[in-house]
Symmetry: C3
């Protein structure tokens, strides 16, 4: 790896991003680059998660190669012990009071995720955290995973806010001809961009046949299907998806006549052309069935894996042709409006900073 | 891959280059970069080969990740269907008449190769195609292959127009001491640079012993050997090679007293420092013997593979020392004159463009 | 590899660096980049080692892909034969008297190493070679190895001139708590920077228990331990290390009451951010025990391997933050003063050149 310039601002900094999942922080500290900042995560003395700059003030070694002792990160090179506030607390044979400090990033553990605030610490308000009701309800089960993808995080937002691509990219799992035949509706609701699509009286594609089985419903049934994508800043996309036995109201059908879930997507920038993609599914049926959770996770892993090559090569094509203007069709409205919301957030940040 | 600048002009654009072989275009489209242009190849409705820019005008996805339906390329991301002229023909739920077009490159299928014209389409004249009589004659058999090589295509031209390197690089197959002891003659004949070398009363090296066997001649015979390299723009090198039983006229010996063939080299630039090397051999003996074709192909694959490291590390050395002037010895005259012919073609193009 | 700019001067050029070990130069020539110069090493007619620029003056091919014939390097591309002074001596069919010459680098074979002088040849004085008495004494045995490390060679100097890192990086082998508890003393003695540390009445760590066994002493004994690091330009670090049975004078204890050795480190720059690290150990006990030599070598290989990731990621962090000033604590004094000595050598060179 060589020297890298700080990127132009392509994301809001003053926002909560998913940094990792709790299981990623164990005995060893975790190093991860978020919004271009190299961070190191560990648990402090009271088990709270701590996010620090991954740079020892002594000689620049990465603290993520060190270890945790009594809730403090100890540099693995010469033993500097770093406090959770970014101030060195001790070092063998040294007085550390005048040592330079490193950044401590505001961090929260909630909803089964670790959230970090890469911007101004004094503006980090836990109240600004995205609310995930299903994550606190016993009536829901969740499973998910993480991909590292070599493209601008906004290409992933585009991808998720226009599900017509399922017909082509995911033809063998969740795609079906009816998706791109159904009209799409895009609107802004308060702080969300919402794109929805409803398909009536169709056969369920393979993934949903599996879900129907899991929900104790006939997998061959004719169904009504829905997809409601909700983008909110900085880069979260929650997609309500499901199928109901036909003619019972679709999205509004009785709970025992449908299989529904929420596709959960947290898209965290790493650099201008790479991102961390936390994907998963929350469901409110068969919530005790951990084998089903695993089956769904494997299915999703395969499906989302199908997007990777397309996204990375799309990124590559766009880098080759920075001057070309892409089309903004009606199906692209979800992505286009989401990007506008991102740009507004960035502009508001810049205005507040001056 | 990151952004790349368009290269300076190191090749003529208005010329027919070999892009691929027919067997490379099957059910799936083929993406390949030719003269810095990223192209995608597929077969249209009447089975003709089509070469388009590998960039979907909708969102910049590579069309080579899509599929072919009724002779049209369909983008694998959102289903845009692209006509063979670079105009979108349809897309689910969209009117495509005002979509931007992409480039369609003139293309020809002839002599067992797909040829593409990366320059001005209106100047693409099939009559300018290099003529290959052996490719249309039942009296000849052909076998070949493709290498991707990380060096300027002109280093490969140099390589092929100075076969003294066989003595060193290919010591165990076609090289022999007599090659660099024999005088070389270089001349320009009409639109070709010709370098020739004749060796009399020598033992045949291993490759030619095999060929003598294949031709039904004694492999231990003392032979007269010849090498006649013919360069023509943009970057084709045809090399007449062979051995005849000694004293019967060498190159002009009776057909049943010699084993001869044409080493076929199409050298297609990819970028300034990489190229596609289509190599092969056409022979006019034992033409029904497909096992012999395979044996020769394997032999050639091994021999040409011996050049790769040398060429790539030579390229690397030259990039390190762009200021050093290389020697131009008599043995280098073939490459030197070929490069002059390339430069003249480029200059003529530039003059015509102003 | 692509084009590279010549680096700023971060090392003295007029100095003897270890280039390789004799066993690396066999039938085949050895190509290696030293102080940014690409060199090729082979043995000449009288078995002397020759170091030439790895660039054939004919067409820029790397001579290291060639072969040795009668003590001369023959280019593997077109057969140019290169004299040991960098002048071509022959080439098939050519007169070579007016060929450009390539650089021949002064080279010495001594102490079991090949040393090269990458700077001005007329200043290459064998008397300036670092003296290694143990390498010429039958009372000593030596074993060592080579690592290629992706960091500035001076980070390795820092590493070796501050052994407090052993406590952390090498916790399971040579590290122990007492190291960073013992005061360190740094001073300049003539042309050396010396950093020393003495620990009394301690338990021997695993590596030294093994050495005590090898020396026929009780491995469980309480010992006095010492570390005396000696830096000399351009980049050699000799570390006297050892343990003696307690209370017998430590470093000055009788020879049969201690196990001691010299950690040998030759740190040769390759580029500004990579180097060759020749490591080893010379010992004056059980010198006939070649199995012990192997055991020590394997132990060292493992120990020095533990530094690699730390050094390479430290380098990466520093490239990201070129503006940050690192701390210079007392424990860093060895590295700081060594760098000053390097800078003085560079400044003296530059002054002499004007």
């Amino acid at each position: 790896m060589g020297p890298q310039e700080a990127p132009r601002t392509t994301w809001p900094k003053n926002a909560w991003y998913v940094a990792c999942t709790p299981d990623e922080i164990g005995q060893k500290p975790l190093g991860r680059q978020i919004c271009f900042e190299r961070m190191v995560f560990h648990r402090g003395r009271s088990n709270q998660v701590v996010a620090l700059e991954d740079f020892c003030p002594h000689r620049g070694a990465p603290l993520s190669l060190g270890f945790v002792r009594d809730g403090e990160l100890v540099c693995g090179y010469h033993g500097l012990s770093m406090g959770c506030d970014g101030r060195a607390t001790s070092m063998p044979g040294q007085r550390v009071t005048s040592f330079p400090t490193i950044r401590a990033f505001p961090v929260l553990e909630r909803y089964g995720f670790i959230w970090v605030w890469p911007g101004e610490a004094d503006q980090a308000d836990p109240a600004k955290l995205h609310h995930l009701p299903w994550a606190e309800s016993p009536g829901w089960a969740y499973g998910g995973g993480l991909y590292h993808i070599a493209c601008d995080y906004r290409l992933m937002v585009d991808n998720l806010m226009d599900l017509t691509h399922e017909t082509y990219v995911h033809a063998s799992s969740i795609g079906q001809k009816e998706i791109d035949e159904a009209p799409v509706n895009t609107r802004v609701e308060a702080d969300q961009v919402v794109t929805s699509r409803f398909m009536e009286k169709i056969a369920a594609p393979p993934f949903w046949r599996m879900a129907l089985r899991g929900a104790g419903l006939p997998e061959d049934a004719i169904v009504d299907r829905w997809q409601i994508c909700r983008f909110s800043t900085p880069s979260h996309v929650m997609i309500e998806v499901g199928v109901a036995l036909e003619g019972l109201g679709g999205y509004d059908a009785p709970a025992d006549r449908k299989a529904s879930s929420i596709v959960v997507d947290f898209i965290t920038p790493e650099t201008e052309t790479t991102h961390w993609y936390f994907w998963g599914m929350a469901r409110n049926f068969a919530v005790e069935d951990t084998a089903l959770t695993d089956t769904i996770r494997q299915g999703q892993a395969k499906i989302f894996g199908e997007d990777l090559e397309m996204l990375e090569r799309q990124q590559d094509n766009l880098l080759r042709h920075p001057d070309r203007r892409l089309l903004r069709l009606n199906i692209d409205a979800g992505g286009v409006r989401s990007r506008m919301m991102i740009e507004q957030a960035i502009a508001a940040e810049l205005a507040a900073a001056t």
